[in-house]
Subunit: 125 residues, 2 copies
DNA sequence: TCATATAGGGATAAATTATTCCCCTATTGC
DNA sequence: GCAATAGGGGAATAATTTATCCCTATATGA
């Protein structure tokens, strides 16, 4: 496992939440698990842009941060289920607020975000 | 400027907010600007762990995303002031909710976060 | 004259994150 | 036997983000 060289400062709540929620897919993982998509394969289907590998890694981190639990069923083929912990559940309203803000400003922001991404050459068509 | 090779999907509000709030210091920048620390040098003093360079870069991004405005006073030595836009202001309650969640769970999370950061070798002392 | 404050950008190195590819387990169905 | 399924991890590499270092400009004060 990769070992960090720069230790983050964790002075305030905002620092903490940064550590816990950063990672490209974590918010979505929590969200979908909360919606009932608990198995890794389901989550992969819900988030097809992410590779299987990263989802695993980020799920592991969420587990270490005690936001989700991982239950392994001793069956073949294997079955695994992720669930939100009590702590994880308390995060859902906050994520909902984030999502609502994003939804409310979706069109406007999609434009400015893409404008800075796409190279200007590709504009005139 | 660095040009992205992988274009993110922006399907839902959570994707959008991910793009807008990612960046190690962005949440804190917005927060401190809202608190009235508007000049770059003030912000640098409030966030000493970040290099001057990244703060500039992330402030530029916040400006492009229309969350802050940048006002330049034609004086010497130069004076610049950042302010939240109307859109930026609507984000503050959401950030407050994030911060509160982080504050409420600070001790517990600081432990699990650091536990996974510090290499196990350094543990037994 | 020289250091300081103020704002910012370029180039490059380092750190971090994410992607790709490949391998392993064991059972069921063909 | 072979493919598919379901979950997972190692290694190497690509992509992205941060950090470092250095340079510009001007007025002020020592």
């Amino acid at each position: 496992m990769y070992e960090r060289k720069i230790i983050p400062t964790l002075n305030c709540g905002l620092d903490i939440i940064g550590e816990v929620l950063f990672g490209k897919w974590k918010i979505r993982l929590l969200w979908f698990i909360n919606e009932g998509h608990k198995r890794p394969s389901e989550l992969q289907r819900k988030i097809p842009d992410a590779s299987r590998r990263v989802l695993n890694i980020q799920l592991n981190e969420l587990e270490r941060h005690e936001l989700v639990t991982r239950k392994i069923y001793p069956v073949v083929p294997p079955k695994v289920e992720y669930n939100l912990t009590e702590l994880g559940k308390t995060l859902i309203p906050v994520l909902a607020a984030l999502g609502q803000w994003g939804d409310a400003n979706e069109e406007r922001l999609r434009d400015v975000i893409l404008k800075q991404l796409v190279s200007s050459d590709l504009y005139d068509t």
